[in-house]
Amino acid sequence: MHSTPTTASELFTRASAAKLDSKCPSGPMSERWDKHRFDLKLVNPANKRKFHALVVGTGLAGASAAASLAELGYQVSVFCIHDSPRRAHSIAAQGGINAAKNYPNDGDSIRRLFYDTVKGGDFRARESNVYRLAQVSNNIIDQCVAQGVPFAREYGGLLDNRSFGGAQVSRTFYARGQTGQQLLLGAYQALMRQVGLGRVTLHARHEMLDLVVVDGIARGIVTRDVVSGEIESYAGDAVLLCTGGYGNVFYLSTNAKKSNVTAAWRAHKRGALFANPCFTQIHPTCIPVSGSHQSKLTLMSESLRNDGRVWVPKNKGDKRSPDSIPDGERDYYLERRYPSFGNLVPRDIASRAAKQMVDDGRGVGGNGMSVFLDFRDAIKRDGESKIRERYGNLFQMYERITDEDPYRVPMRMYPAVHYTMGGVWVDYNLESTVPGLFVLGEANFSDHGANRLGASALMQGLADGYFVIPYTIGAHFASRKLGKVTTEHEAFREAEGAVRARVKKLLATDGRRTVDQFHRQLGLLMWDHCGMGRSEKGLTHALGQIRSLRDEFHQDVRVLGENESVNMSLENAGRVADFFELAELMVIDALHRRESCGGHFREEYQTEEGEARRDDENFCYVAAWEHAQAGGAPRWSLHTEPLSFEEVKLTQRSYK
């Protein structure tokens, strides 16, 4: 059993090594990306075909990167765990994608998108990265329209926009409630075009289980074919991780069931620093948990807050049906507390407020664990058909799951884990601390600080894949000596051996409890103590529990069947094993960050009004964790990258 640590020094060590180099260019903010692109070395067209990039994951980041690199002439191999690249979880994003086009003429600009994103992230993101994101946002829309993404249009044939949280302009482009699907299909089709042309080799149903580092440079991966069980090695000149976030550490989340941290975690254990792991996004509008059988949670797009009004009864324990509660006895608490943003406050704030209402005994529904999202006034104002046109598929999905008709009865919502801002640490080139290992999209930590704004994940995934990596990867190929490496190299043998040993051990444990039983227990611990509210006491408790549960997992998990065929529990077991280690690091990160910022709410650090209180004096940095094994148990040392704010003044966030 593990003793419970009491001081920070027992939890981790502080690295004494040289500080992280973010490689951010200097000079005026608006010229940095241009300057950087000019300074980056180029690979001439004839030489491009000599370089081979391994792209892991085919969501927005992976598919867009793989297609773009192949178009440039690089050799590309792409890997995904699904039967088809089109199934990656980007497909489920509903609401939209931001861009600073300012088509509605309502005051938007690159600068404003940049400002909103830095502020929305509660000043824990790198300014240079965010500015670049805002700059390329417009190219993304152009690219997607050219690919045939059927964005919503006005009668004049031009593109329509809607509003999302954390902004006072309408800058969100959308394709009904299926924006992620349409953007992913665009990227997938671009990718498949390259597959058809023979420039990309596609390996579907392959799960990356290790990273191979040769002479300090990422040169390959080890995968498991999830149909045949074959453990295979692939060598290349760069590895791109585009493997998404780790929200499933909570077991219940809006993530797809297969979303996992394993690829990123394997890279972490091979030397890539992991940044801000405790920064998780709890999305305010999700369908509440209905029973212990629940396998995942379903999000209802933030776009609903354009027209839906969030409320709870003013009186505790008011169990009347919503239509019999008169307006005077309703508390539209977001409109009351944040009059200038109203229902469109950022996600972290809306989630926290919902939790406060429920904790206060004013929650609704059978168990009092939800709040209303009410369309009564919007239907009265715009008519049911208009609302149906805007949100029809979401309303239908809600009714499928809850058996309640949201045109008649207000939706009931509660926050759920949705996105992870933390991830593998990358520099301005999207390169991790392992040279040659690039990390894109949700898998990296770079652009959203401590809270991501709605409709910005799609923007970042595509920015990384279409418009950043095609430039920055060239510098790696052009400036480093990349000798020929094959899968015969000793490093591949060693990594394959390690993967085989892990698989064998899981199958041989022959315990009494299923993988899901452990996963649910871990998730509950994380939700209770490392979710919407975190405290020294709760986190410390969770840390001890996680460690004991992890030991039990390795002694008592039951994985049936064999390696050599489709084996869902074996796949799951490997992922859950990694979640256990990640969970520990998340808790350590949350313990060490003695401030509240964005989605990280330490109950000890709040303002009198219950808002997050940052500590810029001590924590205005990126926490990047280096992994070290110490006698079987993982240990970490902390590196910090100080954040400086030259353009957006560090202030307490206000949406009032």
């Binding site: 699904h82 006005e154 671009a190 042309l197 797809a256 209905s290 995942k296 489709v566 869902m568």
Partner: protein, 269 residues
């Protein structure tokens, strides 16, 4: 837990499941019978299978393999024949969005994989639908390299065309249309992509080439032909209209008559 639906009784549903089990594509398959008790009506169909799999695992029996991922009806991973219907009895609903409140206690449910020559079985309910990817790779795209696009609003598209295009683009590639079709035709899938791209102004330049290339690959994969039975539309979780098959036929006919043969293949860039 507050299940919230008392009409089914507190004990939940008692079901008899007959599930197709097959170790691999070469092995012989068979139905196996599993009684399952106390199923909550609020569960999704896949959650019901989760419960079964947990039970099987604890009993030391091999759990049932099935494809799934997002569980919100958009990724297209899941799909099985439920009492002979692709994705089961609910209209416009993928298996993951089908809830057990559609069934009643005492029901017998037959669960089988999607069956089609072009979808070889891998294990139990898992089939290989990569034929769809190969069809897309032949022409289901607009050839535009990253970086070469002009301003998005420089090319207006009539709202009604964009809306129709979006209706077709909603296809999730699950393969229910193929599984439901007596001929195992993929024409709804192909028609949807041909419509999605062909209805938009930016998709027009490749319209002929696209339809010829996709249909050629569709045939090569061993999918059948449309017999105008429309089971595909009825089974489609996204209600993709058979109108898209009509558009496919029209485009194909026109392209066959007007297109020079050489341009059906070749470089996309």
């Amino acid at each position: 837990m507050s299940a919230g639906h008392d009409d089914h009784g507190t004990g939940g549903l008692d079901l008899t499941l007959h599930i197709w089990r097959q170790e691999s594509s070469e092995a012989e398959g068979r139905f196996e019978t599993y009684p399952l008790h106390g199923v909550s009506p609020d569960m999704s169909f896949l959650e019901m299978l989760d419960v079964l799999n947990e039970q099987l695992t604890l009993e030391g029996r091999d759990p049932v393999a099935f494809d799934h991922d997002c569980r919100e009806g958009i990724c297209g991973s899941c799909g099985m024949m439920i009492n002979g219907q692709a994705h089961g009895p609910e209209r416009e609903t993928a298996t993951c969005q089908l809830h057990m409140r559609r069934f009643k206690s005492g029901d017998t449910i037959f669960i089988e994989p999607f069956r089609a020559r072009a979808f070889p079985l891998l294990k139990d309910l898992v089939v290989d639908r990569s034929a769809f990817d190969r069809i897309i790779a032949k022409g289901g795209f607009i050839s535009v390299n990253t970086g070469s696009a002009r301003d998005a609003n420089s090319l207006p598209a009539a709202k009604q065309d964009a809306d129709l295009s979006m209706d077709a683009a909603a296809c999730i590639g699950c393969g229910a249309c193929v599984a439901a079709c007596p001929n195992a035709a993929a024409m709804l899938f192909v028609g949807a992509k041909v419509s999605h791209l062909g209805l938009l102004p930016q998709g027009k330049p490749e319209r002929s080439r696209r339809v010829l290339a996709m249909v050629a690959q569709m045939d090569a994969e061993g999918f059948g032909n449309c017999g105008n039975i429309y089971e595909c539309e009825a089974a489609c979780p996204k209600a993709i209209s058979v109108e898209n098959i009509a558009r496919l036929n029209r485009d194909y006919l026109l392209a066959s008559a007007t297109e020079r043969p050489s341009s059906a293949q070749g470089e996309g860039a």
